[in-house]
């Protein structure tokens, strides 16, 4: 709760809204004890006095009543009615929504059909019908406004509840012996309440407008009692001759509703966990670059070469060093594997190459990426865009999420060709069919018209590969392309990639967490831990005799088929958080070979022979052969 208030206070606009709202609400509360004229006493002799007149600060209306007094009393009324309507609508709507969403099935069906029926009315028709039946009056306007808003709340809350009711923790609660009623109260409700509060805080303003509207039409508060809406309604006839009688209540409504909306947005931002972490910001077209140190020179090695690449994430006041100085290179026709666990920085390294790390929060803070001798980090967006897909192409992990759901795969392939080559659509189409054939998609001519959701995971990933091949790139960066797939499908995809590399002389950077995949596909491999390469070399050498204790332990953790039932080797502890990296070796905490000197100073990636590099002061003995 205090965290919530702190967050709210940090948002300056919301704070302004809170202050204004506090002032207005305070004034409304103390109105009855303020030394004001009676709001309903008419004095026709003094009608339409302008503002700042003697004895009437805001002037008087068409019956000579004091506008200031009427304004404050009207504000009191409007606030009370608006808030009451919001509370009633939110409570009833939420109750209906939770019940429909939690029980699902026929209960849900029947309730939601009813709600849909009510939502089939433009809301004011329903409100007018209710007022027509109950008769004009402020209370009836309140009932009408609350009633027409119940369906909106019910539908909103139902949606959230359905999501929560299908969460695994609800199943777990059921298995913990809880009854439905208790699950609703203790498991579902606490997760729905923030949504209810958000929905309410963002609609109170709307409710106030609606009740004011009904009063404006003469269907709400009845004379002589006046809320802000009916004050405006009465002033309308004198709009041209005495505009101040309209402006005063109208401006008040504007101020109140605006303050409430600002406050409501602040409440929403503070309660929504996604907004809270600042996650809901759009990524820039290319990752932001803020290089401080000197740009490392190109040593002429490799078609694509990373030199001391550093990428960080700035989230609030924390800095995550996702990639902490990575140097790699890959030659034409070569497959380089990058292996590591989640959070090791392997994907961020791959995405940094073409500036595809989401930014904010990602920032490239150092190093260089040379493609064919040209530094891509800090290259203008236009250069980067020209090379993306044309020279360096990507294949991503989850093929359903990475293809556009609303374009056919053919259109997506054709676009990939046409953004780099001004060819006719028919020609691009023919090329797209060839591409689909080259990744062994059966019936390519008809498959080209399919949407991604109409294909299986394996077929979608073939489309992803075809798209990467569209412009005959020199380098393909594959970011865990088979992780989301079943093993039998994975084997096929790997075979396709391997053939393509041999046929076309592609350089492939293959990111994975699976040693089996690396062993089968990659010529060389780099092992990453906590944002850095800890070991690098020829795949067969590393697999045969890992030098870094992390590599050797990690390989022992992986169960391999054919070894029977057994106890697995485990690495104790957890990887360090990259916003709080320890001094010295990041793996020291979990290492079985740790020595006191491991925890001090910078460790460098030392070459042990012409192809092998290790970042360790006490590597595994070289003679050690791993039985496999």
């Amino acid at each position: 709760m205090t965290a919530f208030l702190k967050l709210l206070a940090r948002n300056r606009l919301a704070l302004a809204g809170l202050i204004v709202m506090g002032l207005v609400a305070g004034l409304a509360l103390v109105t009855p004890i303020l030394p004001l004229a009676d709001p309903d006493v008419t004095d026709t002799a003094n009608r339409f006095k302008p503002p700042f007149s003697e004895g009437a600060l805001l002037g008087t209306d068409h019956l000579g009543r004091d506008l200031l007094s009427r304004l404050l009393h009207g504000t009191r009324l409007s606030l009370a009615v608006g808030i009451a309507a919001a509370v009633v609508a939110a409570t009833l709507g939420a109750a209906i929504g939770i019940i429909a969403g939690f029980y699902g099935g026929r209960t849900d069906n029947v309730i939601m059909r009813g709600v849909d029926m009510l939502m089939a009315f433009p809301y004011i028709l329903l409100a007018l019908a209710i007022v027509a039946a109950l008769g004009p009056g402020l209370m009836n306007a309140l009932i009408a406004v609350a009633a027409v808003n119940i369906p909106f709340f019910a539908r909103n809350i139902r949606g959230i509840t359905v999501g929560i009711a299908h969460k695994e923790f609800v199943d777990a609660a059921r298995l913990s012996g809880m009854t439905d009623a208790r699950i609703i109260l203790t498991e579902v409700l606490p997760n729905v309440v923030p949504v209810i509060v958000i929905a309410m805080s963002t609609t109170i303003g709307w409710m106030i407008l609606e009740t004011a509207g009904l009063s404006f039409l003469g269907l709400g508060s009845q004379p002589p009692q006046a809320d802000l809406g009916s004050m405006l309604g009465e002033a309308r006839s004198a709009l041209i001759s005495n505009p101040h009688t309209s402006i005063v209540p109208g401006a008040m409504i504007l101020i109140i509703v605006m303050a409430i909306n600002l406050l409501g947005d602040g409440v929403r931002d503070a309660l929504d966990p996604r907004l809270r972490s600042g996650a809901l910001s759009r990524p820039l077209p290319a990752t932001e670059v803020r290089r401080k140190g000197p740009v490392p020179a190109h040593d002429g090695e490799g078609l694509l070469a990373l030199r001391d690449l550093e990428t960080r994430f700035h989230v609030k006041d924390r800095v995550y060093k996702a990639v902490g100085g990575v140097s790699l290179s890959v030659r034409p026709g070569e497959c380089l594997g990058i292996i590591g666990e989640s959070g090791s920085g392997k994907s961020v390294t791959a995405l940094s190459v073409m500036g595809l790390v989401a930014s904010p929060p990602g920032v490239i803070t150092g190093g260089a990426v040379y493609y064919d001798g040209q530094d891509l980090i800090g290259a203008p967006y236009s250069t980067l865009r020209r090379l993306r897909g044309e020279k360096v192409a990507y294949i991503f992990q989850d093929p359903l999420a990475t293809l556009h759901p609303l374009y056919t795969v053919g259109d997506q392939l054709i676009e990939a060709i046409q953004v780099h080559h001004p060819v006719a659509k028919s020609e691009a189409r023919a090329r797209a069919i060839d591409l689909l054939k080259s990744v062994r998609i059966p019936n390519a001519e008809s498959r080209i018209a399919s949407y991604p959701h109409e294909m299986s995971g394996g077929m979608r990933q073939r489309v992803g590969i075809a798209m990467a091949l569209a412009n005959d790139p020199d380098v393909i960066i594959a970011d865990e392309p088979t992780t989301a797939l079943d093993v039998t499908v994975q084997a096929q995809i790997l075979a396709v990639l391997d053939d393509l590399r041999r046929d076309r002389g592609l350089a492939i950077v293959f990111i994975t967490h699976d040693f089996g995949v690396v062993a089968q596909l990659c010529d060389r491999v780099a092992v990453m831990y906590a944002g850095r390469i800890v070991e690098q070399g020829r795949t067969d050498e590393i697999l045969r005799a890992p030098a870094h204790p992390y590599t050797s332990k990690l390989m022992e953790c992986v169960p391999e088929l054919g070894e029977g039932r057994r106890r697995l080797e485990a690495i104790p502890g957890l990887p360090p958080l990259v916003d709080r990296l320890p001094d010295g070796c990041a793996f020291a905490e979990r290492c079985h070979r740790v020595q006191p000197d491991c925890r001090q100073g910078e460790l460098t990636l030392e070459a042990t022979n012409d192809s092998r590099k290790v970042r360790c002061r006490h590597p595994e003995p070289i003679t050690r052969e791993r039985a496999s």
Partner: protein, 315 residues
């Protein structure tokens, strides 16, 4: 596609019946006796009883409903006692005027709202975003009737750019230019709130979409940024924007009631408010059912548009 439209039209039948039931039930709640209200000072027990019989009000509720429904299906919505004119004629004439006003406002708010939302999202935290966010906040906080009044004051009374009220000039030709001249202010006043709501939603829908993996794929292909935003991202965002356009159409139609009052626009909203104040029940019933039915049909059109956009919806 034709099959899908037909299916949606058929599924609208229960909704339309539901609407008539709801309207009928609400009206049946009315305390007192419509005949007494109609006859006013002419109400004698005999007159009241006769009128009740003429109106069919002595029959059981269920029977009354089916008679009313049957009559409506044959185009007989009854006769407005206050106007002494068939309800349907009056509603059709008034609805025409509302359609001109609300339709214009709807087009304005859809185009402006979506465009503002996209620009705002693409320039998140930039100058354009801040300006749009502020204007939008102002838009959703101002009562449309107050805005309308202020516009009259500024543009009609002080600047004399547009007429103060009405749909047509009192003298002179009733051509399209005269209509446009009268339409500008009320349509703008009506569009402002919905524009704000749509812009906010479009912004957050765009922000949501821009974080998706397929946007990264488009960028990785080398698609130019303009096309990423206005092509890939907007198209995906429209999936969540279109249903809101349907809901906002209802809000525009609702807001038209206030705007018609402020600008003396001869639309169905003003007719309904007058009818309520005069307790002209048949006119209220007929007007509400007619407009609600039109809205249901409009929402079917929205669903069809959605299914054309999103191939994942089964047609």
């Amino acid at each position: 596609m034709a099959g899908y439209i037909l299916k949606r039209l058929l599924s609208a039948i229960p909704v339309l019946l539901g609407i008539t039931v709801i309207v009928f039930l609400i009206m049946a709640l009315i305390p007192g006796d419509p005949a007494t209200a109609i006859l006013g000072s002419y109400a004698t027990p005999e007159n009241v009883e006769k009128l009740n019989r003429d109106l069919g009000l002595d029959k059981p509720l269920v029977q009354q409903y089916f008679i009313w429904l049957g009559n409506m299906l044959t185009g007989d919505f009854g006769t407005s006692f206050a106007l002494n004119r068939p309800v349907l004629d009056e509603v059709l004439e008034r609805f025409n005027a509302t359609l001109v006003l609300a339709g214009t406002a709807f087009v304005i708010c859809s185009v402006l709202g979506v465009a503002a939302g996209v620009v705002s999202a693409a320039q998140q935290y930039g100058l354009a975003d801040k300006a749009i966010t502020f204007v939008v906040l102002l838009g959703i906080s101002i009562p449309s009737f107050f805005l309308g009044m202020m516009m009259i004051l500024l543009f009609s009374v002080n600047l004399r750019w547009f007429p103060v009220s009405g749909m047509w000039p009192i003298y002179g030709a009733r051509d399209i230019w005269a209509l446009l001249d009268h339409l500008v202010l009320p349509a703008l006043a009506l569009a402002v709130v919905a524009t704000g709501v749509i812009a906010r939603l479009a912004r957050s829908a765009m922000l949501e979409v821009l974080r998706q993996d397929f946007i990264r794929t488009a960028r990785a292909k080398g698609v130019p940024e303009r096309r990423v935003i206005w092509g890939h991202a907007l198209r995906a965002a429209m999936v969540s924007i279109i249903p809101v356009l349907g809901i906002q159409a209802g809000f525009v139609l609702s807001g038209a009631v206030y705007i018609e009052m402020v600008f003396q626009w001869p639309g169905v909203g003003r007719m309904l408010v007058d009818a309520i104040l005069k307790r002209d029940i048949l006119l209220v019933q007929g007007g509400v059912v007619f407009v609600a039915a039109c809205y249901v049909l409009f929402n079917i059109a929205v669903d069809v548009a959605q299914s054309l956009l999103d191939p994942r919806i089964k047609t």
